[in-house]
Amino acid sequence: MAPERTAAHGVPPTGPTVTILIRYFAVLREERGRDEELLVTDAATAAELYDDLRERFSFSLPPERLRVACNGDFVAWDQRLADGDLVVFIPPVAGG
């Protein structure tokens, strides 16, 4: 699968780019139509990455209703992204 660029409106990314593996769950998986994907992005933080994804894929959930995990644990939205990171956006949970 070829990495896709996530720049909004087709504008080429200007900052340094990183390749991120994103896994989707629940409503995000349904809206994206896939479990995971590799994306090349110029997003510097997890928050910027979700903004990118939301613009591109029209996710219904605003970031205020999500948490974010990077490399297997919860992180803050201002987490800096590094090449090869695994990022998962966590929709509102409903265990139990």
Partner: protein
């Protein structure tokens, strides 16, 4: 510490889980079983699917159990959560806590199930008698998005 939080894609056996709690110092144990019920928020439910981010759920689940040990005077605590397709009446989650005295066992059991529901990356899709299904807690947003889509 032993692994005390587990995920299962097969039916939970409460009797087998309870054996993890046995201890000669224990005066008893408290357990909570969450079952799949046939209604939610006024709608008839025929079944549901759980989806889990396993790697993170296991880490966070062990944290919840550790916190229960820090906060309450208990001996053993364990939690098992199902994933996959479940039918009405199936055990969705089982929590058990043994302790010398009942107050700590009840309080810790309550803590573990409450934190599990609040924090673990587990999602529930309910299937209703009217043929619809939704991811619980994303429902309101989803229906708004649906309304917007059909209004366009």
């Amino acid at each position: 510490m032993a692994v005390c939080f587990a995920l299962s894609d097969t039916p939970i056996d409460p009797a087998a889980e309870q054996r993890h709690l046995h201890d000669p110092r224990a005066g008893g144990y408290a357990a909570f079983e969450g079952w799949v019920r046939d209604h939610d928020d006024g709608r008839g439910v025929i079944g549901l699917d759980y989806q889990v981010y396993s790697e993170l759920a296991l880490v966070e689940g062990e944290r919840v159990i550790s916190e229960a040990h820090e906060r309450f005077d208990i001996l053993h605590a364990r939690c098992v959560h199902r994933h996959g397709e479940l039918a009405i009446g199936d055990v969705a989650v089982w929590v058990g806590v043994s302790a010398a005295h009942r107050d700590a066992a009840f309080a810790a059991c309550r803590y573990v199930i409450d934190q599990t529901k609040d924090r673990l990356p587990i999602w529930k899709r309910e299937h209703y008698t009217d043929g619809k299904s939704v991811w619980v807690n994303c429902q309101r947003i989803r229906e708004e998005a649906y309304d917007q889509a059909i209004a366009r």
